[in-house]
Symmetry: C2
Subunit: 195 residues, 2 copies
């Protein structure tokens, strides 16, 4: 439950994603709560109340939904140092529209989305930071959209490996297959070919 070292703040993430001053960051830091999540735990569920933003410090997780047939469809994978989908894009009236599940044990930073919004309003740097996260979310989705619409499943697998090399030997293949838009049997076939 407790984080090993409370002073080990993820300032590098911000330096990477966006240049933010120490002063702006300190306001943000005050909101942070460290949290551990066990493997397979679903820490945000469709229909449940959610008011948090999340930054992944360690491990892998995914967002997913059930399609009309009741199958789980993986939308996005997240890895160490990723900011998870912004609250505003995955909630309606503070109720979660997506599921988020830990694929490994996780360490994450959680902070209140409403308070973050207030910081965004009063602070230009934080506003730009938040907007960058939003844009990244959209760009990620657009890239996946293009891949699904115009690349073969093999090309998508190769790209997936490029981005999430470790995951393929770490999580059940149906989880990956639904992300790639194919069945797990097709994924196995492709694995045989590309290997």
């Amino acid at each position: 439950m407790a984080h090993n070292n409370k002073n080990e703040l993820p300032e590098e993430i911000f330096k990477d994603v966006f240049p933010i001053s120490e002063k702006s960051f300190s306001g943000l830091k005050a909101l942070f709560k460290y949290r551990s999540v066990g493997k397979n735990e679903i820490f945000a569920k469709v229909g449940q109340k959610n008011n948090s933003e999340y930054i992944l410090l360690n491990g892998f997780c995914r967002s997913f939904l059930l399609n009309p047939e009741g199958n789980e469809i993986t939308l996005t994978f997240f890895k160490k140092n990723d900011v998870l989908s912004p609250h505003i894009t995955r909630t309606k009236s503070e109720i979660s529209l997506l599921n988020f599940q830990a694929l490994t044990d996780l360490e994450l930073v959680e902070f209140d989305a409403g308070q973050f919004l207030l910081l965004m309003i009063e602070n230009l740097e934080i506003r730009d930071f938040g907007n960058t996260i939003l844009k990244n979310e959209l760009m990620r989705k657009t890239e996946k959209e293009i891949a699904l619409a115009s690349h073969t499943a093999m090309e998508r697998l190769i790209k997936f490996r490029d981005e999430f090399a470790l995951l393929e030997n770490l999580i059940p293949h149906p989880v990956i297959a639904s992300y790639l838009g194919i069945t797990n049997v097709s994924l196995s076939r492709l694995r045989g070919k590309v290997k």
Copy 2:
């Protein structure tokens, strides 16, 4: 070039999408510029400067991108009364990341994204309005993602018809096919079956 009736403001759109007071709306209205766009014109181009938000008053348009092979991939169709993808989601440093093309003659409202952001900051109603637009954009993409990942091309065609019935007899089929993630030949086959 000129709009038929400058007083014919799209207040209904706001009433539909979001309950907004007359006071808040008047601040927004002050930013509006009416614009006509001819059929096939690309009114926002990848790599070009863009600082506008758009509301479509009449006609159909699309956003599209070139995939690595150089083929046009239609990402989204927009119809009368739609708010186009928010500026923040389709620009980087005020440069457009997407193409937007008129599929018919268009009437649209254009307004400055920076000034709109200022209104969002100072006015809760407008902020909620802007956030709703953003959420709709993400939900639209998520729905399409699920459709591409887990529905057949025929199911996607049926859903497309549901949403954009008129378009199929109005625009070139390759434009629709790339949206559905298939070739125009496959689309023609499906049309023969579903008809």
